[in-house]
């Protein structure tokens, strides 16, 4: 098991290094620069522009800038935002819990509904339920997040008034963040109704963000289950007289879960991508919106640092998924 873990870790290190290069080059290949944006329509003289570029160190050769960046990173310094003048790590740490909270809830919804839907669809192949699940999954997968979010807001917040429109908690409540996770902080605050308010604010964005992963998980579970259900050992188990619950729940599901877990791991990246739009629509103060704003403002340090931290998290999750394979199926860790 240790060898398996070590091999996986070896792949992560060069990937991480590659990400630093991609993040660094990516933001600099975009046209325009942060200094020009600072001036807006007003413009700025060439001399002042050159002076500010020099003050920020953007006039140095790109390789030198990259070297300085790596040196800073080695010391644990992710840089300071050009715009807000705040350390990147501090900004990230402030906003990250909101994205995690939203993503976890979205993933919970996706798994909680996606797995059973896919399983039942597979066992009742060709039924109305199967067709409904697959049509629903395709629709969910195809829906633009922005449109879907607005539709839900207009329906449930605007017309029915069941949920709040946006934000993380009602403006009624005020308390200092402790963990950054609103559900936990609202409980810790001891303020009556705060937790319920935080929950009600989470419902719509979690549904919107969880829709695509839900669709993917349901489809993947269905196809994996169909494949497994046609295997000889399932037929044998049935022939031996095992009940359908035991055959599906124990023998089939465990084997079908491997590709499903792979997909769930990959959905973490999808969640971060979807968070950008979801956070914008629902005024959710997370890292998705922060990244987009940073890109538009050409905040080099924020984009580099943010991309690197997000990539590190996605890599970590995928590494964890790889390790989970090894636990679920010992064959994998022995043959890989």
């Amino acid at each position: 098991m240790f060898g398996y873990f070590f091999k996986k870790l070896l792949v992560v290190v060069p990937t991480f290094f590659g990400v630093t290069l991609v993040a660094f080059v990516f933001i600099r290949t975009l046209p325009g620069d942060p200094v020009m944006l600072l001036a807006g329509e007003r413009g700025m003289s060439d001399e002042r522009h050159a002076q500010l570029m020099a003050e920020y160190g953007f006039d140095k050769p790109i390789l030198v800038q990259y070297g300085i960046y790596l040196k800073q990173l080695a010391g644990g310094d992710f840089g300071t935002s050009i715009i807000t003048r705040q350390p990147i790590l501090q900004e990230f740490a402030t906003l990250f819990p909101a994205t995690v909270e939203l993503s976890l809830c979205a993933m919970f919804i996706a798994v909680f509904f996606g797995l059973p839907a896919g399983m039942i669809a597979a066992t009742k192949r060709g039924s109305i339920f199967d067709h409904s699940v697959m049509t629903g999954a395709l629709t969910g997968y195809s829906m633009p997040i922005f449109w879907w979010g607005l539709l839900l807001i207009i329906m449930f917040s605007g017309i029915l008034g069941w949920t709040p429109v946006s934000g993380r908690i009602s403006m009624l409540y005020y308390f200092e963040p402790v963990t950054g996770f609103m559900l936990i902080d609202s409980l810790l605050s001891g303020q009556e109704g705060a937790f319920v308010s935080a929950m009600s604010h989470l419902v719509l964005p979690a549904i919107v963000l969880g829709t695509i992963p839900l669709a993917v998980i349901a489809r993947q579970t269905r196809s994996a289950m169909l494949e497994v259900l046609s295997e000889d050992y399932v037929r044998t188990a049935r022939a031996k007289g095992l009940g359908p619950q035991r055959v599906i729940g124990l023998h089939a599901l465990r084997n079908a879960l491997i590709p499903v877990i792979t997909v769930i791991g990959l959905q973490v990246g999808v969640l971060f991508a979807g968070a950008i739009l979801t956070e914008t629509i629902f005024s959710w103060p997370g890292i998705g919106k922060w990244m987009v704003d940073s890109i538009f403002r050409r905040d080099y340090s924020a984009v580099q640092g943010g991309l690197l931290l997000i990539a590190a998290i996605v890599m970590f999750v995928n590494l964890a998924v790889d390790l989970l394979y090894g636990l679920i199926n010992p064959q994998i860790r022995h043959t890989d």
């Binding site: 325009g32 007003r42 003048r85 008034g161």
Partner: protein, 533 residues
Amino acid sequence: MRKTKNLIAAFCGASLLLASMSAGAAPKTLVFCSEGSPEGFNPAFYTAGTTFDASSRQLFDKLSSFKRGTTEIQPGLAEKWVVSPDGLEYTFHLRKGVKFHTTKTFTPTRDFNADDIIFTFMRQFDVNHPFHKVSSGKYEYFNSMSMPDLLKEIVKVDDYTVKFVLKRPEAPFIANLAMDFASVHSAEYADKMMKAGTPDKVDFEPVGTGPFQLVSYQKDSNIRYQAHPNYWAGKAAIDNLVFAITPDASVRYQKLKAGECHVMPYPNPADLEAMGKDPLVTLLKKEGLNVGYLAYNALVPPFDNVKVRKALNMSINKQAILDAVYQGAGKLAKNPIPPTIWSYNDAVVDDKYDPAAAKQALADAGVKDLKMKIWAMPVQRPYNPNAKRMAEMLQADFAAVGVTVEIVSYEWAEYLKRSKEKDRDGAVLLGWTGDNGDPDNFLAVLLGCDAVGNANRAQWCNQPFDDLIKKAKVVADPAERTKLYGQAQVVFKEQAPWATIAHSVVFQPVRKEVVDFRIDPFGGNVFYGVDLK
């Protein structure tokens, strides 16, 4: 409505805000659905209106100020000022008894005085000032208003008198000092933070004399303020002010309808009709202090020929643009300054829309089969809600007189950079929103010879025009200035470096319970003076 009442009632539970409550009276909390997070809380560092809304317009005062909802100058922290006959010395007599905010980290021991003015301006002016480089400060507004070239020295005459000595006369100087970058900070707070080794707290945990003081800020989520109990002009009518940061315009409207906020900026044009009919909402509107234009490049043939520029101007159906692009929410522009600015010359006659005459004028100018580029901005701006659509309409208008147009666009930062190049190929769609209500802020910044290769996108340097605006800048008499700017507008119209398109109308929906909210001509949101029913 019920939600709003609940919101107001329950918000008072926040212990930090209890202090602002008078015994027995329900506190009033106004929620503003702002469009974005501020970049920071020191307005001297930034140029964005979103940042000014969150900082200078609530937390700080300036020496002079703009009367709410107008461009009229009135005393601020200076009760009065005296200008020397040569226009080089401005002596400000400061208001007494002005209190700074008391915060978790700072309790002022003295009232506002001349030291605070010296600190505020010397920090930006003197590169060796101990605070100049704190928070990596870049004072772009101070620089772009040419303050380093203009100021000779700032002298403390006594505790309540300060003298600004200029290198040359500058008529708009008082208006400049009412701008956001001139927000006055506490020197005592700065000293205390410097001694504590945390000088940057001055910029992130602001202390001002303004009508509201900062309670908390959660990035991309909300900003909370409470009324400054000892505000020199009297405590604000509302007790608490909350900025609920809501980037999407449609979502802002849903929140307004649901009673989750009282005021919202930048409504979606498509929602305006519904807002006008909404019984819970009052849709305020005001002519904007802006202009949207098409700037030719007067340095590149054939646009160096005034006849060609005039001919092209005659071929533009501006009314059609106003209807399609501004959807009626605008006013045809004939001058480079909006009608809301003093010295606007209403006697100027606009180029008449006449494609046949335009075609003939082009032929007379010896221009045949002209091919040109029109640059369309990639972003929506207050002065131009849809530049690409506008470019397409101009393309069709120009095609009708035999001019072939290729529409080009670049990413916004690149657009700003490339459009100022002197050898730029083509005419550029751009615009401007005024900073201080002074005509100089439009005419010199956008059309002066000094601005060629920079904000003067027409690259147009006309000596008679430049002489007029330079003279107007140093003359103290407003009547004389009005006359000079009026003449400058006539020269502008004759020379046609731009096709002036429109001045947009600004809309702002507020809930019915909001009392006396006034649209700020500078595009800001000011909540002192606003009340709730």
